[in-house]
Amino acid sequence: MVIEIINYIVRFLLIILIQLLVIDNIDLSTYVNPYIYILFILTLPISTKPWLVVILSFLTGLVMDTFSSTPGLHMAATIFIGYIRNFYLMFACSKEDFDNGIEPTVSKKGIVWFLVYAIIMTLMHHLFLFYLEIYSFRDFFRTMFRVLSSSLFSVLIISIGQLLFYRNSKAR
């Protein structure tokens, strides 16, 4: 149990560091701002209590806000997907998944299942985030383009990361 908690803390720090030091420094275009830190929320075990997911989302958003000078922005978006994640999993997972307490990853649920899950969650997060950031519906289509292109890159990076780092658990 303690080892598991330490494992998750290390994973949390690793994902946040990758986001802040690598992803945030890719100055590709103003339309491409991938946010991969939601991977931490996405890959929490399916059986995690919903209230715990919401609290962890809050903490993740708080850390991101602290380091990117955007008070409340990442917090609001991450709490939102932390809340709807539970409803999606109830709809998309069987009872056994909940009982076994597995993580919703590529190795456990398959690439297609994970892609659908990641795309829906990333789109929700980015829609919420980018429209909240501009704080209005002026430039609606420009913001929509920003959401779609950033989501594409986020899902791409998240999936590549999954294929690279979670292969071990499949072999076990």
Binding site: D27, T30, G72, I79
Partner: protein
């Protein structure tokens, strides 16, 4: 009563979600509305220390470029020194303190964190309240305007860069002093737009744009950029002007914070006027 307890028990996740979401909206709303970066004042110290550590490592790889830009700036400033001019008359020697009272002083600082592709970009610098920096001071680079200080901790300050949808800088065309407001629309980090320039003003491409004399934050005439393209729709009262920015924000390393010594005096005078109405 039992029903109430049952209600809380059944929906505690939703209630938790609702409270936290409400909290983040309040923080966001407060920040957007009043520009009072109270949240940032608590957190910027932590974040800045982290970025300083990262920056002290990555800075080594860019030393050559930084040196080059500083030498170029030195050369330009040396050319403006009094002893670089040949004296043609006696007017220059009459400069003394009673005629020219210093209005602006500059605080040099290094950039420790910067972004250019977000909708709201921020820059962190390594000087703070200890060096005399306060919120709402202008910041310039060696090529032109950079942004406005938003929050200050003891050793660091956060700057809302000109590449931020909330930043508005009062500017004017250098040739005829027609003024407008520099606002970024989040499109490209190389360009910004100058709004509210009246339609009767003549504009040509490559016109120089500088800070205006209305601004309390910047000295008059600090370069901002050049007119890249301009258009005027029929029935519109204002030009649409696309501005090519002088400052290359993606390679920004050294900046100067502008301290306006007479700012309080001007502000007090203007606030008494408003209060009188």
């Amino acid at each position: 009563m039992r029903n109430l307890i049952f209600f809380f028990y059944k929906y505690y996740t939703f209630i938790l979600f609702f409270i936290l979401e409400l909290f983040s909206f309040v923080v966001l709303y407060q920040y957007n509305n009043y520009q009072r970066a109270s949240f940032l004042n608590y957190t910027s110290g932590v974040a800045s220390t982290f970025y300083e550590k990262v920056n002290s490592t990555t800075n080594y790889f860019e030393l050559r470029d930084i040196n080059d830009s500083l030498m170029a700036e030195n050369a330009r400033l040396r050319a403006q020194m009094l002893n670089a001019y040949y004296q043609t008359g006696f007017t220059q020697t009459s400069i003394n303190d009673s005629v020219y009272k210093q209005q602006y002083s500059y605080i040099a600082a290094n950039v420790v964190n910067n972004s250019v592709t977000k909708l709201n970009n921020y820059i962190t610098i390594d000087k703070g309240s200890e060096a005399g920096i306060e919120p709402d001071m202008g910041v310039i680079g060696s090529n032109g305007v950079v942004g406005i200080v938003t929050s200050v901790s003891e050793h660091y300050a956060t700057i809302r860069s000109a590449l931020n949808s909330n930043t508005k800088i009062s500017c004017m065309l250098k040739k005829n002093n027609a003024f407008g407001s520099l606002e970024w629309n989040g499109d490209s980090p190389k360009f910004s737009s100058l709004k509210y320039v009246n339609k009767h003003v003549e504009i040509t491409s490559n016109d120089e744009i500088v800070t205006s004399n209305y601004s309390k934050l910047f000295p008059q005439g600090i370069p901002v950029g050049r007119v890249f393209s301009h258009s005027l729709d029929a029935g519109d009262n204002f030009h649409y002007i696309k501005v090519e920015l002088n400052t290359d924000f993606s390679t920004l390393k050294n900046v100067y914070v502008v301290k306006n010594i007479l700012k309080n005096e001007q502000q007090n005078l203007e606030s008494t006027l408003k209060g009188g109405n």
